[in-house]
Symmetry: C2
Subunit: 329 residues, 2 copies
């Protein structure tokens, strides 16, 4: 392109940019209503130069839970299906698993029986299926799996089970100078391989649970080896800790869907200046799933009460979202 051609397109861009009143709806998959309006009001307030609520660009940090906030977490969180498939893939090397729990139940296809062993069984399953390899090897395993694994009910790829309205919130915030982060109880290395393509969130903006990792030289080549030991549990009170460790600033906006996100929302809301806290409330049994106060894996109970008391936005998936998943997917 010649310089004058560039300049012309720039002029057109400048004119477009100078007419925000005519801009398209940034949240087209949201029904008009208080939830949608609260997001727009917050962004306009935080970005309006000279307003008392103005937040400088570097401080515009927004954090998002992943499971149930950005993508579907039912019937079970996606990472558990990864565990299941990994156990099956590794089983030929472990004949003893046929008669040892929690593996035997998994190999019989009974995930609930396997999970009956509680947190100890779950940690054992995660360690066996997620570690003992290098970071490069594990990344490839996740990429290969996520490219083909399908949701048990819809038959869609898991990366197609993301929430279209939340993708629009991510884009809208970024278009307004926000840095968007994932802060999830899920594995940091399980999310990074696909988060950039799926959400536009680069690896350095993903915070999650992790295992310990060790540097080694193998035949003179440096590798990072994943060890079967929990390094960090990024859930509940761990979320503000993970945020502080990775980001080092308090977010001004936080998005979650369960009591596991409550401390992140408390920490975000307690800062000074413009603040925004939002819960996605799964009340849409017809188009997705309906669960809240009594769910055993992703309970939203205390959080609902605190949201009401503090005036946080509670999104009714049923009423506030025009569509749930991206069209054509």
């Amino acid at each position: 392109m010649k310089p004058m051609a560039i300049a012309l397109s720039t002029v057109l861009f400048v004119f477009t940019f100078a007419l925000p009143a005519l801009a398209a709806d940034p949240l087209p998959s949201w029904n008009d209503g208080p939830a949608k309006q609260s997001i727009i009001t917050f962004v306009e307030k935080a970005t309006k130069a000279g307003s008392p609520d103005f937040v400088p660009v570097p401080e515009r940090i927004a954090t998002f839970d992943n499971d149930g906030t950005l993508w579907c977490e039912k019937p079970l969180p996606v990472q558990l299906y990864f565990v299941l498939d990994r156990v099956k893939a590794l089983a030929p090397q472990h004949p003893e698993w046929q008669t040892t729990e929690p593996f035997a139940s998994i190999l019989k296809g009974d995930l609930n029986a396997a999970l009956a062993g509680g947190e100890r069984a779950l940690v054992e399953l995660v360690m066996v299926t997620h570690t003992g390899n290098t970071t490069v090897e594990f990344e490839k395993i996740v990429k290969d799996w996520i490219a083909t694994a399908k949701h048990p009910k819809t038959g869609k790829l898991y990366t197609e089970m993301v929430y279209q309205p939340m993708l629009e919130v991510l884009s809208y915030l970024r278009a307004n100078g926000f840095k968007t982060f994932i802060v999830s109880g899920g594995g940091i290395e399980f999310m990074r391989p696909w988060a950039e393509k799926t959400y536009g969130i680069p690896p350095e903006q993903v915070v999650g649970s992790s295992v310990k990792t060790k540097f080694e030289l193998r035949d003179g080549q440096p590798v990072l080896v994943r060890l079967p030991e929990v390094n960090f549990n990024d859930d509940k009170g761990g979320k503000p800790v993970g945020i502080h460790q990775h980001i080092g600033r308090r977010p001004i906006a936080a998005f979650g869907n369960s009591d596991g996100d409550l401390q992140m929302l408390q920490y975000t809301g307690a800062g000074s200046g413009a603040r925004f806290c939002l819960y996605v409330h799964h009340d849409d049994a017809a188009r997705e799933y309906a669960y809240d106060r009594k769910d055993h894996l992703a309970k939203l109970d205390q959080g609902l009460d605190e949201a009401a008391a503090k005036g946080w936005t509670v999104v009714s998936m049923k009423n506030d979202w025009k569509t749930v998943h991206p069209a054509g997917k």
Copy 2:
């Protein structure tokens, strides 16, 4: 400004941009020579669209050690002077320190005697002076200290003891689409409060050593409490681990000055595509300090050999740098 005025300035900008050959020297504090040339050659290669060495913007990650690479670490690393001043400030609350090592030596002004207790004494000193407060309180303590504490030899503020040629490398890389990170053995919370102003590196791009932190509600207000327990040691093999944990991508360029940075340079250099590894060699006793193979705190020994064997850039501070610290400071 009216749209046409914006468009005109944009046209001028586009023309300027189209004439890189006339651009000012991006590294004016560097003497011409192989070190300076190696930096420029790498950046031009990595950013030239269509070239086999082209690196897409998201992959342009550059990591910098801090002590001895971005600022002066002699006679002792700056954070040790912070420890010293904190011990003095806290001493009235600890009468027992007058007769207990390593505190007694510090209170007598004998830092070397205090450090004779080895790593155990050092960890004890760091825990006592860095923890037991909230993250917000600690940030304020660091900010207040760094605003006034002076280098014992030059009498300058520590933030004036940064290396002007390295500030230019940081700016040059960022102007070419790189994200610049600090990866230091120093405390992550000791660096974040001033790194953005001093280096243009935001908190979320600072990686360092850390203590464990705990979320608590105090009178309904969420706080993060700093506990007297090491969470992560971001040195030697810990540097690639810290990089992987925080950034999740392998850097394509890494800058250090000691054997503590060697694993970071190995990890960076072992990736495919355009790569750049650089050691700052302190050989300038007249303008700064001269130390390498035999230094007891920041030894550069194995690193010098490996740099020679692998063709990494070794910067002679004496010959390659026109100036050491920013002018007028």
